[in-house]
Symmetry: C2
């Protein structure tokens, strides 16, 4: 066990190496629909490659027991994956940089997301499965469907397993 991860605030700048933050703050705004709507434009882009589709799904997550054990990461080598919370509960993100075919566990970071912030993991980014703080929370998901194996999992050696300091 290593020392617990300390969550840092989710910001576009801090998260840039891992993907996009889906939030209205600092977005390009277009007035549309005869003035009855604002479009916060292009907050994220699906990377799905040729011969595949961007699909919309809903994830219904339940809270993991405390302390939240971080013992694996996954990645989607063929496509991006966006998570946008439907209920406005704060939630958590754990990511790491890539070191070839495995994550570099020395770069493990935890981000604390507000309930009005989503993220789009860039293609191939190592991340922990969706982590919530409420008992249950739904997310709108935009990811890839198509041929090929789009899930890799990496399980930590026991001495690298950690938790989150909350």
């Amino acid at each position: 066990m290593t020392s617990p991860l300390v969550p840092e605030p989710l910001t576009k700048a801090a998260f840039a190496p891992f993907g996009e933050v889906i939030e209205t703050e600092d977005a390009e705004v277009r007035i549309i629909n005869q003035g009855f709507a604002k479009r916060f434009h292009g907050l994220a882009r699906a990377e799905i490659g040729h011969g595949a589709e961007a699909i919309i799904s809903i994830f219904r997550a339940t809270r993991r027991p405390s302390p939240i054990r971080i013992d694996m990461l996954e990645r989607h080598p063929l496509g991006s994956q966006a998570f946008a919370p439907i209920q406005p509960h704060d939630w958590l993100i754990v990511v790491a940089e890539d070191a070839g075919a495995e994550p570099d566990l020395a770069t493990l970071r935890c981000f604390y997301a507000r309930g009005d912030q989503g993220v789009n993991y860039a293609l191939g980014v190592w991340h922990f499965p969706v982590l919530i703080l409420a008992d249950a929370q739904d997310f709108l998901i935009v990811d890839r469907e198509g041929p090929g194996e789009n899930l890799r999992e990496f399980f930590f050696p026991e001495d690298a397993v950690t938790t989150i300091a909350l």
Copy 2:
């Protein structure tokens, strides 16, 4: 002015000619994340064609004055457009079938969507801009960005203008 449109409940079957309903009901469910999440899979598919991207935006809508005047429709000839409510307020959808380069106004229909239902307008489907019942509501949008003109608008002759019976 013609007689007001009477909203009908939004269901997958009734909406099928116009696109997909984004809801967990009757969806394909996959248990993921070591049992800590359910994936309601592939509720909608982005149709964006080649040389374009599926992008994620947020629309912030404000309520139109009552009675809501339906005097135009728009369509996106190059891509689908999905609307998923972030706050769970009921909302409205107005669509019509296509009659060549114009909507067939004899087919105008209004759907009443629950706050946990989104829709994905199929490529080219004539629809009224986002219509809400609360004072304000945000939607997550998945649509197309790319070359080409992806907006057509059709303004009704005055005797075809209608409202919604609420």
